[in-house]
């Protein structure tokens, strides 16, 4: 009775979130234990996180957009990889739904899923920032 696309979507989300959660715990442990030097020293954070994002970026040289990719060797920005996994799970799930809808001949639903993927990709590209 449960539509096929829901079962597929559930499986993708389940696997994706488990992997993302495990990565998140691992990368954060590395950060806390000082395994990798962070871009912003942890002792400085208490003073800096009261600033707006704009002023924080100006004060620390923290990356905006996709520039964090260049900093994955830093303890704090390594965590971004795990955070991105969670965000990617959502996008991948909609893409998989679009394929499932097309296969089942549910055109209207397929269009919505596809448009959803496009909106998320456009947002990820920085087109709206």
């Amino acid at each position: 009775m449960v539509p096929n696309e829901q079962l597929i979507c559930a499986r993708w989300i389940e696997i994706g979130t488990r992997v993302a959660f495990a990565c998140l715990v691992a990368t954060f442990a590395l950060y806390l234990l000082g395994g990798l030097e962070p871009l912003v020293p942890t002792s400085e954070l208490v003073r800096l996180w009261t600033l707006s994002a704009q002023r924080y970026v100006a004060a620390t040289g923290a990356p905006t957009g996709w520039a964090w990719l260049r900093l994955v060797g830093k303890g704090d920005y390594l965590n971004m990889l795990s955070i991105m996994l969670f965000v990617a799970v959502a996008t991948a799930c909609y893409a998989r739904l679009a394929v499932a809808f097309v296969r089942d001949g549910k055109r209207a639903q397929a269009y919505f899923a596809l448009l959803q993927v496009l909106v998320l990709l456009a947002a990820a590209s920085g087109a709206f920032a």
Binding site: M1, V2, T42, T50, V87, T91, A108, F112, L120, A123
Partner: protein, 279 residues
């Protein structure tokens, strides 16, 4: 205060929040943002980005079980998610453009409004939908789910779909602007406006907010508002708390927990409002 106290405190607080959110039937974001913005030193930009990611991760964690049981409907959620995804982008941009004090005061007002909505709205278990509208029918917004408590299948369909789209567009703006997720509004909109049975509305709400919260989160990320030291312990705490909350659900008293949540929201809303006015 030493820096290492903060991740421990964040983990502990979001762990409790995760339990309470499940017992009270609210999303994690609606508790996280007001409490962090009102009582913690983090700038509201970082809090809102963290609130959105918290909403995404907790909704993703709950989604597989709800989708498999049929208590969440992808077919119902998909078109509404798309609308709120687009408008939440606008909400995030508006939120980042506003002065912090204005936003803090507006957040206070929004939280007080949400508390009022939660206090006043009484869900209808199985709303009467005499006939579906043309748009709802065209989008296939109907189906059947199995209700284990009733031990029978429940057929559902929607009405007032155009009004539903309008309301979800507004919900997207508010969710993106304040980083609140949207569970607090999704359930009454689906249930009371569109006539979706309460259980299906609650189950679908989480899946529905994933798209909107994700698109708004990208805007915050692009502006550098993502702070791992705030976000990561909060996510881990909330997810683990929610897992324990599900186990405690059977022996809990949801009405009492909900009253506690309302009091917390009222306090946080008022504190946020005062903070916005520099008091």
């Amino acid at each position: 205060m030493e820096w290492w106290i903060w991740p421990i405190a964040l983990f502990a607080i979001t762990f409790v929040m995760g339990i309470v959110a499940v017992l009270a039937g609210v999303g994690g974001g609606v508790l996280f943002v007001p409490i962090m913005a009102a009582f913690f030193p983090f700038h509201i930009d970082f809090v809102r980005a963290a609130g959105l990611l918290l909403a995404i991760t907790t909704a993703l964690s709950a989604a597989p079980a709800l989708l498999r049981s049929g208590l969440a409907s992808v077919r119902l959620a998909m078109p509404l998610t798309l609308v709120s995804s687009v408008t939440s982008l606008a909400g995030a941009l508006i939120g980042l453009a506003l002065p912090s004090a204005t936003l803090q005061a507006a957040l206070g007002l929004a939280i007080l409004g949400i508390a009022l909505l939660m206090w006043r709205s009484r869900g209808a278990e199985h709303p009467d939908v005499p006939r579906t509208d043309a748009l709802g029918a065209a989008l296939g917004m109907h189906g059947v789910y199995h209700d284990p408590a009733l031990a029978r299948d429940v057929a559902w369909r929607v009405h007032r779909t155009p009004a539903g789209f309008t309301v979800f567009a507004g919900i997207g703006v508010i969710a993106g602007m304040f980083g609140l997720g949207a569970g607090w509004a999704n359930v009454p909109a689906l249930n009371l406006l569109m006539g979706v049975p309460l259980k299906l509305a609650v189950g679908t709400s989480g899946f529905l907010l994933i798209g909107g919260a994700t698109s708004a989160f990208w805007v915050y990320l692009q502006r550098g508002a993502v702070l791992p030291m705030l976000i990561v312990p909060s996510i881990i705490g909330a997810i683990l708390g929610a897992k324990l909350g599900v186990r405690l659900l059977r022996g809990a008293k949801p009405a009492l927990v909900r009253r506690v949540v309302l009091v917390v929201l009222l306090l946080a809303g008022m504190r946020s409002l005062l903070k916005g006015f520099g008091i």
